[in-house]
């Protein structure tokens, strides 16, 4: 088919666009609300730690929570924006993802050093179940985000898949933070934080295929 004929054919079908129009802000609101509901239900099923009210009055616990929330929300925003061509530069996306992840993991390392100074150094307690819980909690947020991104036009599939992974696992880590009673910074670094990066990278290496269009 000649290009000019293709243009004529496309112009004839302009009134029937193949994809529904949804603004990025609406997509982000859908993801945030869907994720909030699914994480709330998931955490309720897993069980909230008994001393949650006491912990919410602790600045350290609140700081950790805010950092995880920042990771999940900003990565979700990056994932949504990347799905709209020309809206967000890839370098800026990499910078944003790297910044929030390093802020969270860096804070955990700093807290581990502070513990060491105070003489209350915690060991890396075994916690593979924490990673599994985070993974389970991340399933619904990831599914919502993949659906929303596929509904747009992602032009950087691998980076977009990485952002989806970090956002969903970050949301899972947030639910886990409300459930897990091990407060050691090294435990959180090894079993809550690092798996977000590793599993997202693994997911992105194959998951980008889901975002092809």
């Amino acid at each position: 088919m000649k290009t000019e004929a293709l243009i004529a054919e496309l112009a004839r079908n302009v009134e029937t666009p193949s994809r529904p129009a949804r603004t990025h802000s609406r997509a982000l609101v859908v993801w945030l609300s869907g994720t909030a509901v699914s994480i709330a239900i998931g955490t309720w099923i897993l069980g909230v730690r008994a001393d949650i009210m006491l912990m919410l009055a602790t600045p350290r616990y609140v700081l950790e929570m805010v950092l995880i929330l920042a990771v999940a929300a900003s990565s979700g925003a990056v994932a949504v924006l990347l799905a709209y061509p020309g809206r967000f530069r890839a370098r800026l996306a990499v910078f944003a993802l790297a910044t929030v992840m390093s802020a969270w993991l860096g804070a955990l390392v700093c807290l581990a050093f502070l513990d060491l100074k105070r003489g209350s150094f915690s060991t890396v307690e075994w916690g593979y179940s924490c990673t599994l819980f985070a993974l389970a909690l991340a399933v619904v947020p990831a599914a919502i985000l993949v659906t929303l991104v596929r509904g747009a036009a992602p032009t950087r599939p691998t980076l977009n898949a990485l952002a989806i992974g970090i956002a969903a696992l970050g949301a899972g880590a947030l639910g886990l933070h409300v459930h897990c009673t091990t407060d050691g910074a090294l435990h959180q670094f090894a079993w809550h934080g690092v798996p977000v990066v590793v599993l997202s990278a693994l997911g992105a290496s194959t998951g980008w295929r889901l975002l092809r269009w």
């Binding site: 290009t3 293709l6 243009i7 054919e9 496309l10 302009v14 666009p17 193949s18 061509p85 747009a152």
Partner: protein, 200 residues
């Protein structure tokens, strides 16, 4: 120009066919030069340009009226060019694998991206069988299997509905299977005949 394209894209989103036609025709020249700078294989450039146009059509609802059109357009174009290289790489890998599996046949990728063979009975058979089936069936098979297009994209290119495209491709596969089965049984008959004569 940028402002004009943005206006036309806004109108196109509202269903203005004429504006959309003008927009697609207007962006054709910059798209061709964008692709020419990135794709070395001159024979596949126009295919890539067409793929970009189809992608722009699909992604049009994601364009926000009033915003610059060029960054949006070039993001889509870049994605398609990268996807073209990825698919081309995969096609070459597939051909390499087929070369490894066949009886010592050596495949070499030429400058144009086509795959040449020094001793390729399988490739020759397929080419001959493809040449023997009706033109539209061949085109459907090639779009889906060689160019790795989706059913929707292939249907748009051929100017038929998705179901018609599937029917064409199905008939093409069936005809190919019949021709290849016949071909292999004929060559087996020939070798058996040759063996009998030698024994005599």
């Amino acid at each position: 120009m940028n402002h004009e394209w943005a206006t036309l894209a806004g109108k196109a989103q509202a269903g203005d066919r004429a504006a959309y036609g003008v927009l697609l025709t207007g962006i054709l020249v910059p798209l061709r030069s964008y692709v020419a700078r990135r794709v070395r294989q001159s024979d596949s450039r126009e295919d890539v340009v067409q793929e970009i146009l189809i992608s722009i059509h699909k992604a049009l609802p994601t364009y926000r009226p009033g915003e610059p059109f060029e960054p949006w357009m070039y993001s889509v174009a870049r994605y398609r060019v990268v996807d073209h290289f990825r698919r081309r790489g995969r096609a070459l890998q597939r051909e390499d694998l087929r070369g490894d599996l066949s009886t010592g046949a050596e495949f070499t990728a030429t400058e144009t991206g086509t795959v040449a063979s020094e001793d390729v009975p399988l490739g020759e058979d397929i080419s001959a069988a493809l040449g023997a089936i009706p033109e539209r069936q061949r085109q459907a098979v090639l779009y889906l299997k060689r160019d790795d297009l989706s059913v929707r994209d292939a249907a748009t290119r051929m100017g038929v509905s998705e179901s018609s495209l599937k029917v064409l491709a199905h008939r093409g596969y069936k005809a190919l299977r019949t021709l290849l089965t016949k071909g292999s049984s004929l060559s087996e008959d020939r070798s058996a005949h040759r063996r009998t004569r030698t024994e005599r």
